[in-house]
Structures are given as C-alpha cells and as structure tokens.
Symmetry: C2
Subunit: 347 residues, 2 copies
C-alpha cells in the first residue's frame, strides 16, 4: 500500500499537522488521483473539533478535491491518466437502495461512504479526505472537471457548488424566477452565481450591508439588509425559493413571509439549536420549509458541466497546506471571500 | 332585502343566540340557498371567541353549508331551484390575481371574501355564515353536492373535506403511498377516509390509544400511539406525506423523522405558539414542513365529486341549532365523533 503525505487532526483540540497515510493500491474499478487542490469547507472545522459528535481520529479532512488521474484500474473505462478530475463529499454508497437507484446517493439507506471521518462500505476501513497528496476512489464516484475551468477555483464546486445547485434544480428554478439567497459566504456566493446563471432574479439577503457590492458583482439584482425590518416588508411574498445558507440563529418566520404562494425556503446551514416555526406563515400560502444535502453523483457531474458552460468557479484564496490552522481561524471570522483552497503542491 | 333567521355571537364572551339578519336580493349572478345543515368547525369557536384577533360582531359563524337552491338570478346557468348545493369557506375573491387565475382563491392576493367574519369584495359589506336559514352567494362560489351523498353528512366536506383533500392532491398521493395522519378529530377522520379512498396505506398517529379501532374502521391500516416513543422508531422513514391536524403543541422533529427521503409533513392545525424545528431532520432527507389552507373552488368541486364516487361523507352528530353553545363545549373536550352538524330546520 503506497504511503502518501497528508495533513491531519490528531484529536478534537490540537492543530492539524503532517501525517503519513497509507492509501490502497488501485483495484480494477479504482482511479488513483494526484490531488492538486482541496477546498476548506466549514464542515471540515465542525468535524475536526467534533462539534457534531462521533468524530474519528486521526482525521484527514477535505471533500472539495481536484487533481489529475495518476493511474486507473483494469476495468476503468471513463478515465485515463492525466484527466482532470474531482471528488466530492462521497466516495461510495450501497448503489442498490431506492435512494441510490434514484441517484440520491447522499441519502443511501445504508449510509454513504463519506470522503472523510467515515468508512468505506465495508463499514471498517476509515476514509481520509483531500488534505493529502493522493486519493484512490472507485470510478463511479469520480467526477470530470471541464477543461475550461480553473482547477483551484473548481475545487469548492464539489461541495459548495453542488449544495447550492441541487436545491435550485430540485425546486425547479427557471429563468425569471425570483430567488432569495440568505448569507454571502462559501455557500451563498455559489448560490448567487448559479441561480443567476439559471436566469433567476437573485436577491441577496444579508445582515452585513457591506456585502451589497459583492452580491451585485456576483450576479444579484437586488439586496436586502436583514437588520432593517423594512426589508421583510419590501420583499414580502416575492420569492419562489429562498436558499438559506446561514448557520447562525435567525427567525425563519420572517423569511417565510417573503415567499410567494407555494414558495419554499430551503435550509443548507444548520443552526446550533432548533428554530421556532409558526404554522400561519406556512398555512397561509401553502409555503414550505425544507432542507437539502449536497447532491447525487450524476447531479454533481451535471453541475460541473453547467459550470463549464457558464464559466463558473468559486471566488477563492489559495493557501499552502501549512496555513490550514490559520485558515480555520479566519473562516470563523468570515475573513475570506469566499472560499479557502489548499494547494497540495506545498505538501 | 329579505330578513332571515340566524344564530349569532353578539360578542367574544356571550353565548350565541337568535338574530334576524338581512340578506341581499339575488343579483343576476346570485344563487339564493335554503340552508338545510351547517357543520361546526373548530375555527367557528376560535373566531367567535376572538382567539385569532380582529373578530367582527354580531358574528354568524358557519362555513360548512349545504341546502337546496331557492332561486337563481337571470344570468345563472349552472344551478336551478331545487338543486342540492353547498358553500364552503369563501363566497367570493378578486378572480383576476395570479392565485385566483390558478384556482387558488384561498390565497387571493386581495384577500378572499370569507363566508363569515369577513367582507364581500367591496370590503364593506359584512359576510354572515351558515348558522342561518338562507344565504345568497354568487354562482361561481356555489358547489354541487352529488345526489348519492347524505346532505347532513356532506356538510363538513365543505371545510374538513377540502382541507384534507387538497394537500393529498397537491402532494400527489397515489395508490400504495404511505400516508400518516396525526390526530383523529374532524380533520383527521376525513384525512383517513380520503387518503384510503385514494389507495394510500394510511397510518393514524394519535396520543389516544382508544382511537385505534375507529381509525381502522375509517380506513387506516396501521396505528401509532404517539405517547409511546417506540412509535417514532417503528415508523422511522416510512411516510411520503404526513397530514398533521393537531393544534395542541407537539414536537414536529419526531414526526419529521418518520418521513421518507423527499417526504413532506403538512400542517393543517395551528398550535398556539411557534414550534422549534431542527435543521438536521429536514436536511438529512430533503424533507419539508409545509402548510395547507382549505382548497380552491374547482378543487372543492373535484373533492365533492370524488366523495360522490366513493360514497364518502363525514361521521356526524346532528344537533338542533339551539344546542350550538353546548356543542362548542363538547368540541373543546373532543366529545364528538367526529363533527357536529346543526339542523337549520330547527331555526
């Protein structure tokens, strides 16, 4: 088994540091990938610090992986050495349950094999993520990165991109639809770009008035300052879909009032505590409050191809992997516009 | 203007008593109806006692109205004297806004003219409901009651029936789908009957174990006792749709966990306070929490025709109108299986 370089969290409280990691030899259906870049997702930090419980250590985080194919197994048909590829939040699933059969591997009834802090489908072998020099992934869970896209900028598409694209598609956003995006961070800035590329009229809703210029640059046609109560009246009944990327506590009911009849507000962020929801804003307009989790593999490829057609990548700041601990601290202060990407060439 | 007999609440705290009421002469598009029966909806009590605020007095409640046509205006084409007809929660709407254009008059952007405790679309003339001997309603808001149905038993279809039928249709319940119904009261018992008639496998979820026999008689194939925590595990991930008819406080999150991937829980009852909702049960399964309000006029006729085909009426207890105050007290104790209907022949 080849040994590769990685950056790992030894436990929930120590900084990340170097770790030598064994990856499996590519099997007949496997693709071995030289990782070029890996995005930093806020969930990396949640899991490193065991904020959701059940974390496994040492943990090599990272599920926004891009690189080039180093080698392929004998039965691999879709990839060859040198191809630009990506790996997102999952590296396998049962492939047979009703969710997998519908292309919703993220809801695999056996539980998908997530890219790190999880196990392969044998439920024994730990998975290690993209803060590393190489990874070996079964062909079915490897994505193709369109040639047109900058490789580093494409990395966050594998999580932030699909997390925002999937609900835009599932809730059937079409040209001219009025879409609200709550929060302008890693997820929010991708939501604005993707919704605008789908032809929607996008309104960015933020507690920071200073985000307006960026929101408009990214594709929003309107801006609402959510510390101003007039915003909720001004946009009352406006949106067919609101994507809520904020994980800080906020009053869902005020946002639900900005939905049209049959509109949906979809949670992508997870506030620390349950949020009180009144029945009237839902009943009085047949509105709904939903949630969405990344997206399936086929839909992730569709998203990448869509980004290729529209020239969409993430706005990023590239850092050497040795600065990951500082990056986490800056991320906590929202001091990034809008996604950190680690350069694995520095490992 | 003809004077008709009615039963009215003079204010928020006094019992209902007789009132002589003026109804308009039928205009060219109007239908004058001799009211035979009127169901008692829990919302009658909420509004009589001003529990939602803004009540207008004297109030003649009642929006589950059935009777026979007494006279029609010159331009009325769909009804003639002697026809069996019904009137539900609305007597008019703007008819031109996007909601009305889609047949969702209950979400009319000008605000529908509700059958009582509201105004006609002139926003001046008060509306008075079905606890009365006659009513005059514009043809477009008059429904046809299928000949096969018992007239008294059909009365609650005009509110309880459409309130449960509309979400079953909107969320596309098909034969074999697994539907949960929370609560077995006026709404819940109609939800069980209608979902079963659509071919769904219905599970009744109730805090009263004593409701099981009735639930099965009405069409449920399974029963879950919600005071037993094992119920939530037993039915975990089971339902594509849960209709929640309960207005007492309860933990939505436990119920959301009983939804399949892409499942929806739809609120029909209004708890007194907002209910805390966690993001994880929504995100981890792309589930949604929605609400639904009665149904449009065309869908109400569709529901009545469906009930005609399937021989569905409400389980009722008929009372003379003079017992309405006692009926309210018994309704508060859930001492009715499952809907009171006032006999307007006793006025």
């Amino acid at each position: 088994m080849p040994t590769v370089q990685a950056y790992a969290a030894p436990d929930a409280t120590s900084p990340l540091g170097p770790l030598a990691l064994e990856r499996r030899d590519p099997g007949p259906h496997d693709v071995a990938i030289d990782i070029a870049f890996c995005g930093i997702c806020h969930s990396d930090l949640h899991q490193v610090r065991n904020e959701w419980g059940g974390s496994r250590y040492p943990m090599v985080p990272g599920h926004e992986i891009v690189g080039t194919v180093r080698a392929v197994g004998a039965h691999v048909t879709r990839f060859k050495p040198g191809d630009r590829v990506g790996v997102g939040c999952m590296v396998d699933s049962c492939r047979t349950c009703p969710s997998c059969a519908k292309g919703l591997e993220q809801f695999c009834q056996q539980g998908a094999a997530f890219t790190y802090n999880s196990t392969e489908m044998d439920r024994v072998t730990p998975t290690y993520g993209g803060y590393s020099s190489r990874i070996v992934v079964t062909e079915s869970f490897v994505l193709r990165i369109p040639d047109r896209l900058d490789l580093a900028g494409a990395a966050p598409l594998l999580c932030a991109g699909i997390t925002t694209y999937s609900p835009l598609r599932h809730w059937k956003v079409r040209a001219g639809d009025k879409v609200g995006v709550v929060g302008l961070g890693g997820l929010g800035h991708m939501a604005v770009k993707l919704a605008a590329a789908l032809g929607a009229e996008v309104t960015l809703l933020s507690s920071s008035a200073s985000k307006e210029a960026d929101a408009r640059r990214l594709g929003a046609s309107a801006f609402g300052h959510t510390r101003d109560e007039a915003t909720f009246k001004r946009f009352g009944g406006r949106f067919s879909l609101i994507l809520d990327t904020v994980s800080a506590p906020h009053d869902y009911n005020k946002y639900l009032g900005m939905l049209q009849v049959d509109g949906a507000m979809v949670l992508l962020g997870v506030p620390p505590e349950p949020t009180p929801v009144a029945a009237f804003p839902l009943i009085g307009g047949r509105r709904s409050l939903g949630g969405s989790l990344i997206g399936g593999i086929a839909e992730t490829q569709e998203m990448l191809d869509f980004c290729g057609q529209h020239g969409i990548v993430s706005d990023i700041e590239v850092l050497p992997v040795q600065q990951v601990n500082e990056a986490y601290e800056r991320m906590l202060k929202s001091d990034v516009r809008y996604r950190f990407v680690l350069d694995m060439g520095t490992l």
